[in-house]
Point group: C2
Chain length 271, copies 2
Amino acid sequence: MNRMVFFISDQTGLTVQRLGEALLAHFPDTGIDRVDIPFIDTEAKARQVVDRIDTATRLGLAPVVLCSIDDAAVRAIIRRSGVLCLDVLEAFIAPLEQAFGVPASHNTDQAQGAPESTEYEERIEAINFTLAHDDGVDGKHLADADIVLIGVSRSGKTPTSLYLSLQFGIRAANFPLTEDDLENQTLPKSLTPHRSKLFGLSIDPIRVHRIREERRPGSRYASLAQCQFEARQALRLYQRLNIPHLDSTHKSIEEISTTIIQQFGLKRRFF
Amino acid sequence: MNRMVFFISDQTGLTVQRLGEALLAHFPDTGIDRVDIPFIDTEAKARQVVDRIDTATRLGLAPVVLCSIDDAAVRAIIRRSGVLCLDVLEAFIAPLEQAFGVPASHNTDQAQGAPESTEYEERIEAINFTLAHDDGVDGKHLADADIVLIGVSRSGKTPTSLYLSLQFGIRAANFPLTEDDLENQTLPKSLTPHRSKLFGLSIDPIRVHRIREERRPGSRYASLAQCQFEARQALRLYQRLNIPHLDSTHKSIEEISTTIIQQFGLKRRFF
């Protein structure tokens, strides 16, 4: 029988869920049923949640609550359920108050990235920019790009570009390397004025072969020989032109994005 | 003079950064310079970080470290800097060990969402689906959609769809409501078989007017009268056809996405 873990928040719960996932990854053999409960920002809603916790307590293993609730009265109601209730922010507020020498404010309603903010506008602009500059569609406004990802087809350019724009407000364009580029060891013409913004993705040929086979089985495009040629030539091009690059084969979108931000010293426009 | 806060992680640092943002929002009047340092997974790298902390300590206010470092030896080196060092996972591991009745494993290298996983494949599939079904481009495969967002132009459909696919692996399509649809109070034809998947976004006409004015100043499309007509008719359509809907005017992309997930009871395919 699985144990229920409740992720309860007065806002979206994305922070507590993310931290909770990282914590639960340390208990791989413990069967867990996750329950996400966002937007618990009144005492009435908290009492309804306690009913759900009580039911879970009666039916099985003692549930665990991970929460992020700013209002002490709302949090106290959840606590009254008697189960282990860890507030992921509360634990750190007191030491930070001491370090900063000021009391914490609890008036944080103005969520960052709300639609009224400049951050929001910049985020939307970055998303629109990335969509307009996906897969080399538009090479005209690359002067406005923060970064231009290059790589062979299916090396992870599009997901990484979208992640950079959506999560960080970074204007990420991406450009495919064509067979001609790879053969001649040259950059696509529209990229040459933007050398300093280029970041190359490389990928294991066997992996790219497998991905392409699923899309176009038996094609020359998907053949192992073609994938090996492209992977080898792309890497050679990055090295020859001294373009910073990364092997995306075993990396998540988050890891690729973080590496790029770090290497270019990019400023996040959004958190 | 600002105080430096270091966000240090042995992985991408996205969890500690996110939690750190939520914590620092409680100290709005404390001037902070953030420094993100990801991928600190060896003692040698930790020693280099301590040098940076030492320098910051000599030059100004005592820095603060928020970290997420699994290896106790690596963490101990950071701690030796003598500044306040809060590990955002460590604090919760012991109580969870007690609640679950098992010791925590520290072998969590296999990051969720790594390219080898089914989760990764589903995430990429969802992103591709969303890109192919943005703004009503392709109404043919809506049977495969988890959700179809509808709304007037500039109500937030595209960013929300991308967020749902990228963060949660949810196949989110989106479809614009045209003037004819709004006038006749009918759904676009290709949507009628998918009524149960529809979610409507509504938006304050003054806000949409302002956004559109920036793109096409002085146009009929951007006029307040047109925006008022569209906003009113869209809301009427949702109510008439009993389509669940949300006013996106004051909501972040995260809040809209969380509300949709909650209302539809959608299963996240990715964390």
